[in-house]
C-alpha cells in the first residue's frame, strides 16, 4: 500500500528527517519511506520511488510530508506517523528549555556579542541570510551548497570590505579559537595556522600535526570554489593576511586543489612577502612557482603536516614519501597480504567518504594503474566507462550523485555500506577506505566499516576467498569517537590500519604491484 500525510508549516532540517526516514525504514512491513520537506528535490525522489499521491499535490517547501510504501498486514500508516512523532519528540525533549529565536536578527539581539554565524540551511536561502550576518558585522561559516558563484563573489566582496571571514559556501571544516566548526577534529592548540579550500584535506593535515605533537592556532575554511578565477581567492588571501598578522601563528599551511593560474599568481605574490614560513599543498599542482615564492611545496597531505612541524621546530623540511614503519615490516605486510589472495583477485575498490582523500588516492595510484572513478583523472576513466566490476575503482561517495535524499556518508555510513555489498566481489583484491572521525561525523564510522568488511568476508567465504582491507583514520585521541578506539575496532576486523591516508595509499600501491594487479 502507498500512502502519504502532510503537515502544513512544520519545518525540520534535512539531516534530522533523513536519519528519521532511515529508522522508519527498519520497521517491519515497511518497504520504502521518505520523510521530508516539500521541496522539488524531495518530491522528485517521491516520484522516482513511485510513492506520489494526490495528498502531495499542494505541498510546499514549508510543509512536512511522510510518504510510505508498506505491507498493510504488518504495519499501518498510523503506526508510521506515531514512530515519526516519537523520534521527533525525543529530539525536542533533548533540547527543551533552549530559547530558539525565529530569525537571524532576533538571534543577534538575544545572544549578546555573537561573532560568528554558522549557516547550513538550503542553498537557495543561504546567501540572503549570510548577507544579513555580514552586514551586521558577523563572520560567517557556510556549509550550505547550491549557492551561485555570483552570490559567492558578492558575499566575499562584502566580507573583504568589512574585514570579515566568509567561509564558504560549501565549507565543511574550520577551527576558530580552538572550536571545531561543522566537520572538524579536536586538535591541540599550537602555532601552525591553516587556510584550506578542501574539507577533508584540511582535516587530514590538522590531525597529523596534532599526532606529531604540535597544534593549530586557527584553521580557516574558504569553500572549494575560492581559488577559481571568478572568486579570485578572496577568502584565502583574507585568511593568509590574518594569519600573517596573528601573533599566535608562526607557520602557515595552505591547502587546495590547483588554483586558477591568475589566482595562483596572486597567492604566490602575497606569500613572497611573508615573514613567516608557508607550506603549500596545491594537491597535484605545480611545485615550481611555490618554490620560486620561497614557500615549501608538498607531496601529500601528511607531508604538508610534517613539513609545517619541521619548519616550526627550525628543522629542514624534507619530502616524506615513505612509511613510518621500517621497510622490512612493510615488505612483510605486503607479502602476507598478497598471499591471502587467489590468482583471479585483481582489482582495487577504494571507497572514500572524504573527497580530498579520494583525490589523493587517485592521483597517486593513477600514475601506474587505470583507476575508474566518479572524479576521474581523465574523462576516459569515468566510472560509467567501466561498465562492470572488472577494473580498479576509486570513488568519492560524498559527491552529489551518491547523496541525493540522504546524508553525506561521513554523517551516515549507509552509502558506503551499500557499495561494499554491490562493488566488492570475488574479483576484488584490495579494499581501501578512509575513516573520518571528529565533530560532524558519524558516532562510529570505524564500526560501520568493520561490519561491512565482516559481511563481505563472509560472502567471499563461499568462494573460499579472503580480502585485503587497508584503512587510515583521520582523527585524534581527543575526538568524541576516539582515535585509539577506532583503530582497535578496525584491527579487530582484520583491517590493516596505516598512520595516514598517504601511507595507506602507498601500501595499497605496493600490494597491487606485488600481485601484478
Amino acid at each position: 500500500m502507498i500512502q502519504s500525510i502532510v503537515r502544513k508549516n512544520a519545518y525540520y532540517d534535512s539531516v534530522t528527517l533523513m536519519l528519521i526516514s532511515r529508522e522508519m525504514k527498519s520497521i517491519e512491513g515497511v518497504e520504502e519511506v521518505l520523510v521530508g520537506m516539500g521541496t522539488e528535490l524531495n518530491l522528485d525522489l517521491v516520484r522516482n520511488l513511485k510513492m506520489f499521491d494526490a495528498n502531495l499535490e499542494d505541498v510546499t517547501p514549508n510543509d512536512l510530508f511522510i510518504a510510505a510504501k508498506f505491507n498493510d498486514e504488518l504495519v499501518t500508516m498510523e503506526q508510521l506517523v506515531n514512530s515519526f512523532d516519537e523520534q521527533i519528540n525525543r529530539k525536542k525533549e533533548a533540547s527543551a528549555g533552549d530559547y530558539r529565536p525565529p530569525t537571524l536578527r532576533s538571534a543577534i539581539d538575544h545572544l549578546g556579542g555573537a561573532n560568528l554565524v554558522q549557516i547550513s540551511i538550503p542553498g537557495q536561502y543561504a546567501a540572503e541570510e549570510a548577507e544579513t550576518a555580514l552586514k551586521a558585522g558577523l563572520h560567517v561559516m557556510m556549509f550550505s551548497d547550491n549557492v551561485s558563484i555570483k552570490d559567492e563573489l558578492r558575499l566575499k566582496q562584502v566580507a573583504v570590505e568589512k574585514g570579515l571571514l566568509m567561509m564558504g559556501p560549501d565549507c565543511g571544516t574550520a577551527i576558530i579559537n580552538g572550536v571545531p566548526l561543522c566537520f572538524a577534529n579536536v586538535v591541540s592548540k599550537g602555532r601552525i595556522g591553516l587556510v584550506g579550500a578542501s574539507g577533508t584535506g584540511t582535516q587530514e593535515i590538522t590531525v597529523r600535526i596534532d599526532q606529531l605533537g604540535e597544534g593549530l592556532s586557527q584553521v580557516i575554511g574558504t569553500g572549494g570554489r575560492d581559488l577559481r578565477e571568478e572568486i579570485g581567492g578572496l577568502m584565502m588571501i583574507q585568511g593568509i593576511e590574518a594569519l600573517l598578522k596573528d601573533p599566535e601563528t608562526d607557520v602557515i599551511v595552505l591547502v587546495s586543489k590547483p588554483p586558477h593560474p591568475t589566482v595562483e599568481k596572486k597567492i604566490v605574490d602575497l606569500v613572497k612577502q611573508a615573514d613567516k614560513p608557508v607550506v603549500i599543498d596545491f594537491i597535484g599542482g605545480d611545485a615550481a612557482s611555490i618554490i620560486a615564492a620561497g614557500a615549501t611545496p608538498c607531496v601529500s597531505l601528511e607531508d604538508a603536516a610534517r613539513k609545517a612541524v619541521a619548519l616550526l621546530r627550525g628543522e629542514k623540511a624534507e619530502d616524506f614519501d615513505g612509511f613510518d614503519a621500517p621497510e622490512e615490516e612493510i615488505e612483510k605486510l605486503v607479502s602476507d597480504a598478497a598471499s591471502t589472495l587467489a590468482a583471479d583477485q585483481k582489482y582495487l575498490r577504494a571507497l572514500y567518504t572524504g573527497g580530498t582523500l579520494a583525490d589523493e588516492a587517485i592521483k597517486y595510484l593513477g600514475e601506474n594503474y587505470p583507476i575508474y572513478s566518479n572524479i576521474p583523472l581523465t574523462p576516459d576513466r569515468a566510472l560509467a566507462n567501466l561498465g562492470g566490476l572488472e577494473g580498479h575503482i576509486c570513488l568519492d561517495l560524498g559527491e552529489d550523485e551518491f547523496t541525493r535524499g540522504r546524508p553525506h556518508p561521513m554523517i551516515d555510513p549507509l552509502t558506503r555500506t551499500e557499495f561494499f555489498k554491490t562493488h566488492v566481489d570475488g574479483s576484488t583484491a584490495v579494499v581501501l577506505v578512509d575513516v573520518v572521525i571528529g565533530y560532524g561525523s558519524h558516532e562510529d564510522p570505524a564500526g560501520a566499516v568493520a561490519e561491512s568488511v565482516n559481511a563481505a568476508r563472509e560472502r567471499l567465504l563461499a568462494e573460499n576467498k579472503d580480502l585485503v582491507v587497508v584503512a587510515s583514520v583521520t582523527g585524534t585521541d581527543k575526538d568524541p569517537q576516539d582515535l585509539a578506539q577506532s583503530i582497535a575496532t578496525l584491527e579487530r576486523a582484520g583491517i590493516i590500519v596505516m598512520p595516514s591516508n598517504a601511507q595507506a595509499v602507498r601500501l595499497v600501491g605496493r600490494i597491487m604491484d606485488k600481485i601484478g594487479a
Binding site: 534530522t16 517547501p61 537571524l104 554565524v117 563572520h139 590574518a242 565533530y439
Partner: protein, 57 residues
C-alpha cells in the same frame, strides 16, 4: 570586528540549519543559539523575492 580581533575573543555562534551542528557546539560548552529557521514566505519563491526586495528598501 576584524578577523584578528575575532581571534582574541571567545567564540559566540548563531547556528542556522542543521541542528546537529548546534548540539555539537553545545556539547563543547560553546556559547551558542539555534535559530528556529523556516523558509521565508512558506517557501513560495515569488513571495520570498518580493519580501527580500521590501527588506532591502
Amino acid at each position: 570586528m576584524s578577523v584578528n580581533e575575532l581571534f582574541k575573543q571567545d567564540l559566540k555562534v548563531i547556528n542556522m540549519g542543521l541542528e546537529s551542528f548546534y548540539e555539537e557546539l553545545r556539547s563543547q560548552d560553546v556559547d551558542t543559539i539555534h535559530v528556529d529557521w523556516k523558509p521565508a514566505a512558506g517557501g513560495d519563491k515569488k513571495m520570498a523575492s518580493l519580501l527580500g526586495r521590501l527588506k532591502g528598501l
